[in-house]
């Protein structure tokens, strides 16, 4: 019985094959055409358009403005700038609230409580100073900007404006071998790279989607903005008189972000011409009609989604990192802690790149979350340079209220203007955070592409820091 079936299946398939040779190369075309023919017949019988002229075509009118040669790009830059400005301006306040609640108020209470119940110092250290604090940090830094940035993006999307951005930006991205929609996933990356990587799903051509995934990390995400702003105000703002400090340091941060866009395009170009040889294999972009966005519903869903995402990330990725950070600073081998061993050992190497051992260690143990890099750097600097009177103890991440205090700590740790610049570059060009790496793996289902997305930026980062440093040392003596 089974044997008979097998023969029969083969027969069917071989008949199909013979018929296919007979039908020639245009089969798919004729099949599609015959379906459209049917569709068109039915549509003619059932659809009537009354008086096409009388109705005002608002969609076309809006489109003529937002895609016009002169107004298209200014409108786009204005809207995107507005979104960023609102995010930056509005996120500070809730960030401050959450930080003062979780870090300044709740953290001491927990510590005291643990001491009262009689927790050993190491247990309360691992759990409260390590795990709890890093979760609290991630939530306070990440949640407000995410909860503000993404709903605004979603509103623009609901309205129908985002496809027009892709439409306008396509020619630039086409030249880099990418898809116009990458403009959008890149913009989302400024909010969160993991979200940007997920957003690449709207790119329906596999190669261009891969390009967009690999290059998303070049968008400076929310977790990295505070680092950039802090370091720029200390080292670059400090170069000019206080009147200009704000503008100059803001300019430096924007400069780094623009540099990120530049790298994004260059790397897209290189990828599309080497490993991913192939251009937009199936470009098409539907421009949907404009629809009034449903503001309340969008805000609600978006807020819930983002909060869940940030909490998930904080617990799954930042919590173990917090424990690790605490352990590294508190486990001693001989006189020195693990952290100090590593810092002393890696310092000469890091100096080649104009960085230092503290920065390297901070970037290794803070892979899970960029937003704890600065607190970790400060904590490690205090440990390794033995400054007295600052910080909250070994392994306890902290930030200082005043920029001047932060500067004092960093300068005591041996930081110079060059270190600051290199940190800004390295913060732009290093491996994506572990949430993003995990997301890239989930989206591509490929270890190879996940590895490339992880190591490409860090290799670039080291190379660029190296050349910056050596040229700097050659020119500036």
């Amino acid at each position: 019985m089974e044997n008979k079936e097998k023969v029969s299946a083969e027969e069917i398939l071989s008949l199909a094959n013979t018929l296919r040779w007979d039908l020639g190369m245009n089969l798919h075309d004729t099949v599609t055409e015959s379906i459209y023919e049917g569709a068109s017949k039915i549509a003619k019988k059932t659809v009537r358009v009354k008086d096409e002229k009388s109705s005002v075509n608002w969609d076309l009118k809006i489109d003529k403005v937002v895609t016009s040669k002169w107004l298209g790009f200014p409108i786009m830059f204005f809207l995107l700038a507005l979104v960023f400005w609102i995010t930056v301006a509005a996120a500070n306040i809730p960030s401050g609230w959450i930080a003062s609640l979780l870090i300044d108020t709740l953290h001491p209470i927990l510590k005291n409580g643990a001491a009262a119940i009689g927790f050993p110092w190491w247990l309360s250290g691992v759990l409260i100073d390590g795990a709890y604090l890093s979760v609290a940090w991630v939530v306070s830094v990440m949640l407000p900007p995410m909860a503000i940035f993404f709903p605004m993006f979603t509103l623009l999307e609901d309205f129908g404006y985002l496809p027009r951005v892709a439409f306008n930006m396509d020619s630039l991205f086409r030249k880099a071998g990418a898809h116009g929609k990458q403009a959008l996933t890149m913009s989302m990356g400024f909010g969160c790279n993991a979200a940007g990587v997920v957003a690449t799903r709207v790119i329906d051509s596999p190669r261009e989607r891969l390009i967009a995934i690999i290059t998303n990390n070049f968008s400076l995400c929310n977790g990295r903005w505070p680092t950039q702003i802090l370091i720029a105000s200390i080292f670059i703002g400090g170069l000019v008189s206080s009147r200009w400090a704000g503008i100059v340091s803001a300019g430096a941060v924007v400069g780094v972000a623009v540099l990120g866009i530049f790298f994004s395009l260059v790397v897209s170009w290189a990828l599309s011409r080497s490993v991913l040889k192939g251009e937009a294999s199936a470009f098409s972009l539907e421009l949907p009609p404009y629809r009034p966005p449903r503001i309340l519903q969008t805000l609600y869903t978006s807020l819930i989604d983002r909060t869940i995402f940030v909490l998930w990330r904080a617990v799954v990725f930042a919590l173990p990192a917090g424990i690790l950070i605490w352990l590294v600073a508190n486990i001693h081998i001989g006189e020195l802690s693990l952290a100090e061993w590593f810092i002393n050992w890696s310092d000469p190497f890091a100096m080649l790149f104009g960085l230092n051992g503290v920065i390297l260690l901070a970037y290794i143990i803070a892979i899970p979350a960029n937003e704890i890099v600065i607190p970790t750097v400060l904590m490690l600097t205090v440990i390794s340079s033995g400054i007295a009177g600052v910080g909250a103890g070994d392994g306890v991440m902290f930030e200082l209220d005043s920029i001047a205090d932060t500067e004092r700590v960093l300068r005591a740790g041996g930081w110079t203007l060059l270190t600051g610049i290199n940190l800004m570059l390295f913060s732009l060009l290093h491996n994506p955070c572990s949430t993003t790496i995990y997301t890239i793996y989930k989206e591509t289902k490929s270890v190879k592409w996940t590895m490339i997305s992880t190591f490409l930026p860090i290799v670039m980062g080291f190379a660029i820091c190296f050349f910056t440093t050596q040229v700097w040392r050659l020119l500036v003596k």
Partner: protein, 263 residues
Amino acid sequence: MSNQHNCENCPVHHKENLIRLGIAMDKVDYVIALAGNPNTGKSTVFNNLTGLRQHTGNWPGKTVTRAEGGFSYNDKRYKVVDLPGTYSLLSTSTDEEVARNFILFGRPDVTVIVADATRLERNLNLVLQILEITDRAVLCLNLMDEAKRNNIEIDERTLSKELGIPVIPAAARQKEGMMELLGAIEEVASGRYICKPHRIKSRSDKLNHAIDSLVGKLKQQFPGLPNLNWVALRLLEGDQGMIDAVNSGELGTLSPSLIPADI
């Protein structure tokens, strides 16, 4: 042709009969597949039926992952599977494969096709393709409000007659037409409405001949399959999934194991 779905006073159309079940989907009586072009409001219909809040963007191709939800209507429990939005079911993209395999191998009790009333002709392309695969379908003519604004009139009764399936005008964003849609789903699911789906006729003689001779062979191997024409056409297009199904004999049982793991 049945026009029962237009009966607004019938008790079945009362809102109280709908209980949204969200993601609770145990012991379902019927499985509903939700198909449609991208950006036709498919997700909005899904959310209306299940009470879930899947994000619905004004962005073609937003629903990339599949979503499932459930509702109970007139004491029957339904599971809704939201398929990825596609323009066609004939190509090799993963989305299209997921959608067409679910409709063929997942054998949903009803396939609800959500179409954009303002671009009916374009949407009919997919509708006709789906009707080649399944004979239990309902057309939800969504975005009727936009069509009205654009002075587009659609003769739903003729459309229903041409397609051989119930056609329900709706405006899912305003929650209009949803009760009528439920009524039609119930009628088709329970077998009270027998669909006589439109099938493509205008193919070249050469192709028709090829399909016929292949269907002849297929009939011997898989008697009783309702959509052999479609199977034959897929084989002629070299669809690997279909070739595997013929090879393994799985086509005969229409076993759901062929459906990709994440559906």
